[in-house]
Chain length 361, copies 4
């Protein structure tokens, strides 16, 4: 096709292409593979979002409370997608007195509490109260609802795999026939059952696809992290890093999302590496910056940022920081699609070529 | 928001939405979830495509032979997608004398031979010759190439999970430094190693993510199917059905795609059921029809049709028929997203409400 | 062979049997399968053993401290075997100032502390101090030693799978070249790494065949048990029962021995059942009795008793009791040899036909 | 205890030991660990056993046909045990017209046909006819029986894990209420279902603990072996070696016994190695010798020999030979007790220090 074509040959081709089209087909050889929209590194500052959320708390009425959510919308995905190619990260605000109706869906969800207290989530008949830094699981197809019994709003980060579940054409959703599911279990029983982790109750039989724990308390995680920080150097890439694991299997907290907490002691500078699978990071405490594909992203407590698949990233803590993060690597691994490589040059540290600047809408 | 809003309130909201947008976010409560494009049941007749392919064999030059492919493009996915939400099904034609350069990619691929002979595929240093009905695996990240040593074109159906791998941002591709990888193994050695299936060579160590067999010969599959058909009724939904399994694990032939051959004896009418996961069906021999969500799709040898996720489907053979099919259910299962249900009414048979008519482009 | 045989026929047979014997063979049809020695239910009272142990502490010199052990020797196994058909249960006493030399063996061992304090076990470079009720693991082929830094003796129950490992001809043992292995890890680091159970350190890579935890503290287990006892009925057969699980897999603490703690609230009377696999029970606190194959075994704190494979057993607590127990069922399960059945009659309770009386030697 | 003891001290000790004994205990420090009986390398020649078997066929009446078995009794196990520490290897002879009553047991069994034809085994409602070299599985707790429909005796090698199952106190046995189980499946259907190995019928649901195949035909195994022998060197230790694998898992044919066929081309001399787990070898065809712990064992077709756990062994074929072998290594592996090492010196070949001589009874 390098030579110029005669007019008649071009007409023939046009006709051919038309004919192919008629049969709901298209020729691969003329597919202009349009540049695919692709998630880019990005950061959303809580200081921008806090006022918006509190305004939303006023303007969005209680009937729509369940949808009073601001979506972190990756600019690389044309503003129509979620935070990474497969994972959502949204901020939700719940007013005092609000109760969300029970429902369930095949998408798995997690909540990381940002501010507030006295609100609860109930999952499969068990209620748990939430505090800042707590990590709550509402896995695939379990009934869940929540309510705010306190006197100020609660804000949390919502993490979901709904984009992936949609891409797999496996989205189902169901409303509970009544507003709230009955509470059939003692409050926070799963914490008592599984708090000691390596002590497994023998009479409880549950799915092994997701963790039976619905609330991994921040106080317990921070305690473990800071104890370990005193005597270990942790991972070169992730600092003092704990996986929130399923105590029944040692595997990820949810089948599609592995969830972690990393403590970076003041001054720690991790090595850069990259891997397939997108990651959402949410800063629980502290401040510092991450270098992602050569660009510096400064962050402080309650900010959220994303590292897309295969982007080099490293972290620097200017003060002791704890960062929560989740990723879809458990989906990649059984398919043989997980790969990882360290940044070899320059002692494992990228050269910083710029600072993050928000992209204007 | 049920009450009419005052002008100033609406202006406030507009300003609010603008502000949210500035921060690369969007409010969930005003998201008009556009109807998602979704794969629909569809059928592509080989009699339409054969002339197109042979014309393509003339007009697309040898240098582009690797791309001389007609994509079955599901009309529900706006003509821009593959055959189902995650799986491609394309027809490719290879001229005599053509040799494709070696490459590898993280997408897994399969080939089901439609017509021709004397062409080969080579995978990881092993060459195998292909005949109609043969099922060839070219799994994730293994070097592969092919060539046609005969004197007439070969046509095959290409099945790929590339849409899924793209959605997971895990697409990698590499060209082999030379045109062809060296043939380091005896021709068709994997057939000899694994032909007897339950006899496992002890000195061979390979990945367990995909089958070590690169060619599942049709002759062997047909032999097994017709023997079983004489004494068994098989599956109520899938007829006399064999899974092309990985002899090292008993699991699917490829990590992301389970592959099957179903024999329907003349007159068989299966029960209807539906399940998550899209399916591509390719008729190797015979004729009959399938009822998909109430619509009748008549098919004959070499036709290809798709059943999207969660569509009811049942099959009727007017003569003995063998159908090859592949599906992404192995991806759904470990995520807890596989679900299945039989059609309970009317003795398990859908009422036929119409006949398939091709959708004009 | 029912008819009386003639003299000459008998002589022929004798000659035949002699001949078979010459070839290191024997006829199955004349095998008088002697009644096999078989473990029986038995109980060893600590009040009998404490004075013996303290006397042994005097008469067995320090050089032989490692062997200053009294073996619970099941009378059904002719006084030459261990406590059950496959598992040992022995009492060991360690004098102040004694240090055992480092060694390792393919038999797996556990220690349940009976009395004393200020003694430690070191496993693979990590030291842990032991208190009554603590459960210590010294798994297959890990270097271990111990010492008593306090001023009074320590007594513990030693549990081992050495009989099984012997039966499998897989016994290996090695002395450490120096008296003590070097302490390469911070004291009790595994407790800090795995104490929070569901928080898994990501940078630690260890075998998944046995738990990375070397000391499951009694205080933590008792806390979990008594919390659960307030709101749950637990298992009908085992009471409020926690498995000491491997936090990396959710599986048993050691590959060959599953280990449990059961709390029986005062007055609890469990249902009877039986299963394959022998069990060693050691009473940490409380008192009560168990009915084993119809015989009542009264027990109090620090006593040890065994339930052999397939014996019916049920437990009654006269005061709140915590019982530690271990069993070889993880060996049976993958072989398809585990079976279990409840006692169906009489509301699940056996009729008591007698009381345990020690068998005179 | 190095110093001579005074008379009174010795008396004290005697009294102490008496007292310990009274409590069904014994001191570890005076345990004279008697040398354990241990399986030794041994070989049983078929030419010795054939006349004995045919005489047994006459003298042991039909009612006891099921027990007309000569046990290969390892002289290291005091003539009371089986062929290795855990595995039995026995020869059984079945007269024409004999039918064995159906039964089942938790011990798993295998049959390797030595001579004869026209006899069948039936397992779980399926009948299969047996020919020399065929390997038949009668797994744990499946009903099985057999009969000889031909006009001459059949001889087979019986392999069992009954010693292991006994050691685990998990022996159960049941007679079928009638003489023969009903034949509910077509004759040899499992061969047709699983013959093509990598083609897995989708509608059959069976345990994954043992292979669904009941007869691995010798003709098929020999065909695969000799094809592979033309282009591969196989394993340095086991020659051209196929594992009879479970087509549903790729794992061993039975949960407790891995079964193999090795072809040694004429002149092949394998490298020596040793591993835990005892092995029974049965020569199907050919002749040669094995060197086991330095001793040469000459063998010819139909001979049986054993290599105990951890004995070095290597094989030499003087003509092309096919050897069937089975081992308990699948039991050792999940317990972390499997270990293996090559013989490093002298180019991997042991120095031969003697020839096997039968041990007189």
């Amino acid at each position: 096709m390098q030579e110029p074509m005669s007019g008649s040959r071009m007409e023939d081709l046009e006709l051919f292409y038309e004919e192919v089209k008629r049969y709901q087909s298209r020729p691969l050889w003329v597919s202009r593979t349009d540049p695919q929209p692709k998630a880019v590194p990005y950061l959303w500052k809580y200081q921008d979002f806090r006022p918006l959320l509190f305004r939303a708390a006023e303007i969005v009425p209680m009937e729509m409370a369940e949808r009073r959510v601001l979506i972190f919308s990756n600019p690389g995905l044309l503003g129509r997608g979620p935070a990474t190619s497969t994972l959502s990260a949204n901020l939700q605000i719940i007013n005092p007195g609000e109760v969300a109706p029970s429902h369930r869906h095949t998408a798995s969800a997690l909540r990381l509490i940002v501010e507030g207290d006295s609100a609860y989530t109930a999952v499969e008949g068990e209620k748990t109260y939430m505090e800042p830094g707590d990590f709550i699981t509402t896995p695939n197809w379990l009934w869940h609802d929540h309510g705010n019994e306190g006197d100020r709003p609660m804000v949390w980060l919502d993490g979901l795999d709904s984009t992936l579940v949609n891409a797999l054409d496996a989205t189902f959703r169901e409303e509970y026939p009544e507003e709230s599911q009955p509470l059939t279990k003692p409050t926070e029983v799963s914490q008592r059952l599984y708090a000691a982790g390596s002590l497994r109750p023998t009479w409880v039989d549950r799915s092994r696809l997701h963790s039976p724990l619905i609330n991994y308390k921040f106080a317990q995680a921070y305690d473990a992290l800071s104890t370990l920080a005193r005597e270990s150097e942790g991972s070169p890439f992730d600092g003092i890093c704990l996986e929130y694991s399923n105590p029944q299997t040692g595997g990820p907290a949810m089948a599609s999302m592995a969830c972690y907490a990393s403590l970076f002691p003041a001054g720690m500078h991790t090595q850069a590496h990259r891997h397939t699978g997108g990651v959402v990071y949410h800063v629980i405490t502290g401040s510092g910056y991450s270098v992602i594909n050569g660009v510096r992203f400064d962050w402080t407590a309650k900010d959220t940022f994303v590292v897309p698949s295969w982007a080099f990233h490293e972290h620097v803590a200017t003060e002791e920081s704890v960062v929560f993060w989740y990723t879809d690597t458990p989906v990649l691994e059984p398919l043989g699609l997980y790969r990882e490589e360290p940044y070899e040059e320059n002692g494992g540290h990228q050269r910083v070529t710029g600072n993050f600047a928000p992209i204007p809408a």
